[in-house]
């Protein structure tokens, strides 16, 4: 356990020393909330439960997006870069347990994801009149844990399939960003998504993550607001991600056009 804790702390330190990563995982989703409410408005409308603002529905979607990008994109790119630098290979040559190292990578990403979600919700409550009900907080937490675990497994799978940074970055963006559009996250509140896109979105985990988390923040839902069938879909994706990672994960640096290492060039032997 102490080893795992040390690995989490090390990964955390690496994260905070990479400002680009910190910006994209934490600042970018918050910026989106600011822009959404600025562009699409934060209109209030009356319901039987009282007045509700549209940010009440943007906030959970973007919180989930922050969590997914911290875990899926973050783990995928982090491991691809550690592999490319030969760090994963180094780890395999030490008595450090592989599960502890990977556990450190995953749990540090989940911790960052939690910070992103909390920051988003706090901003929503403080600046945009979002309401949180204590009775539904357990559902928020459970949904966050299950969703983050699922996207973390998918991040491990991503780094197993897209083994270099040059592959992992575009693959992560080309999967997560379009998914955000068909998962009711990057769309103004009340937009009607075409039926086929709606169906397509149902296949993938992001929409279920967003809707399950949204349900726990929805003033119209009844506490405790657990969306078990959506959590079930997330668990299926967790299993898929873990299976792909178990099958394809490699500790060896990829061979990149004749270079064994990015850091060192071999001189021609005299």
């Amino acid at each position: 356990m102490r080893t795992l804790w040390r690995c989490i702390r090390m990964q955390n330190r690496v994260f905070w020393r990479t400002p680009v990563a910190a910006f994209f995982t934490l600042v970018f989703p918050i910026l989106m909330l600011v822009l959404f409410t600025a562009i699409f408005g934060n209109d209030a409308f009356d319901t039987v439960y009282g007045r509700v603002k549209s940010s009440q529905f943007y906030t959970p979607g973007l919180a989930v997006f922050a969590a997914a990008s911290s875990t899926y994109t973050g783990i995928g790119i982090n491991l691809a870069s550690r592999r490319e630098l030969g760090i994963l290979k180094r780890v395999r040559g030490t008595p450090l347990q592989p599960w502890a190292y990977l556990g450190g990578v995953v749990l540090s990403a989940v911790w960052i994801a939690a910070l992103g979600v909390v920051a988003m919700v706090v901003l929503g409550v403080a600046a945009y009149g979002v309401n949180i009900e204590a009775a539904k907080v357990p559902a928020m937490i459970v949904t966050f844990v299950v969703g983050s675990a699922s996207f973390a497994a998918l991040g491990l799978a991503l780094s197993s399939v897209a083994r270099s940074v040059a592959m992992a970055v575009p693959t992560a963006n080309a999967t997560l960003l379009p998914l955000a559009f068909i998962s009711n996250i990057f769309v103004p509140f009340g937009t009607e998504t075409p039926a086929w896109l709606d169906l397509l979105g149902n296949v993938f985990p992001l929409k279920h993550f967003g809707l399950a988390f949204g349900e726990a923040m929805n003033p119209l839902s009844d506490a405790p607001a657990f969306e078990w069938h959506r959590l079930g879909v997330l668990l299926i994706w967790l299993a898929v991600g873990a299976a792909v990672a178990a099958w394809k994960f490699s500790w060896e640096p990829p061979v990149i056009s004749g270079r064994a290492s990015r850091r060192r060039r071999r001189p021609v032997p005299a």
């Binding site: 090390m10 330190r13 690496v14 550690r82 630098l85 290979k89 030490t94 060896e252 290492s261 032997p269």
Partner: protein, 316 residues
């Protein structure tokens, strides 16, 4: 006590390519053993099999009486690896990296002691990404030694060092052997092998083509190297070469004789040619270096009769 490293008939195939082809050697505690050879000779493959990074195709490989391919953390606790291709987290400082990786070992050398050992004192708290290649290589060295290993694998440890740093690196390796560790070194620098190694194995195309102490290898070179070409119309030269004492390598018309008795051999050769009225083209006598031996051993000329020969074997 059994040797720290024991390799017998080791074979490694990469799909159609045989990278290591029946290699055998042993490394004792307190000994520096060097695998010397050009890129692609199979040095790194052998070392990575012994470290447990790769699996072998055939043969046996034992490190500390353990099969590395199935060994666990307790095995890796006893070995130290300085690889060419393994990086260090660039976001950390040298001190943080040594602390982090060091904590996994049961017998760990204090961080401060290691930083002093590899002379990184003033750079110990700088981000690794800001350090030069040579400085990063020294952290590699520190990370390889942090677990107080019984066997140390050094894969081209001084590549990228300036000459002064190289000397200090050599001192460090000598110190490791004096502390009764087994050191397996790969290098393509002859002077490094000659300076550091108690024994050297020269690898070419996955095979050991020569093995011995640097002195033995040099002795193999003889005290002189006679080179000449026989004329096209010359009769078979077997009667010429039969009485010659040295090691003979023939390449078409070109003949190289490595010998400890250059005067006698030269008299034989020139007498034979003068008798027949031949002029021996390009006749020279030189003192061979270890480099000559090495180059002749790893020669990759694809010629029908050329290449590396074993002691006493002669072809013309």
């Amino acid at each position: 006590m059994s040797p720290a490293v024991a390799v017998r008939d080791l074979v490694k195939d990469y799909s159609a390519v045989r990278a290591v082809d029946g290699v055998s050697f042993e490394v004792e505690r307190g000994e520096v053993f060097a695998l010397l050879g050009p890129n692609g000779a199979g040095k790194s493959t052998i070392v990575e099999i012994l470290e447990g990074h790769r699996t072998r195709t055939a043969g046996t490989a034992l490190v500390l009486d353990t099969d590395p391919s199935s060994a666990g953390a307790s095995f890796r606790d006893r070995i130290g690896i300085v690889l060419q291709s393994s990086g260090i987290d660039p976001e950390l400082t040298a001190r943080e990296a040594i602390d982090y990786y060091g904590a996994a070992y049961s017998r760990r050398v204090p961080t401060g002691e290691l930083i002093e050992l590899v002379e990184l004192d003033e750079k110990a708290d700088a981000r690794i990404s800001t350090l030069s290649g040579g400085q990063q290589r020294r952290i590699d060295m520190a990370l390889g030694l942090v677990g107080d290993p019984d066997v140390v694998f050094l894969d081209e440890p001084t590549t990228g060092f300036d000459p002064a740093a190289r000397r200090r690196g050599w001192e460090l390796v000598e110190r490791l052997a004096s502390e009764q560790r087994a050191v397996l070194l790969t290098t393509h620098y002859l002077d490094e092998a000659e300076h550091l190694a108690d024994r050297v194995a020269v690898l070419a195309k996955g095979r050991i083509v020569a093995e011995g102490t640097p002195a033995e290898l040099r002795a193999r070179a003889g005290s002189a190297l006679i080179r000449f070409a026989v004329p096209d119309r010359a009769e078979p030269v077997s009667d010429l070469l039969a009485p010659v004492s040295g090691l003979i390598v023939g390449r078409g018309r070109h003949v190289e004789i490595t010998t400890d008795t250059p005067t006698a051999d030269l008299a034989q050769i020139t007498g034979w040619a003068a008798e027949r009225g031949f002029e021996l083209e390009g006749l020279t006598v030189t003192t061979p270096s270890l480099e000559d031996v090495y180059l002749s051993l790893v020669a990759d000329d694809g010629g029908d009769e050329a290449g590396a020969l074993d002691d006493g074997d002669s072809r013309t």
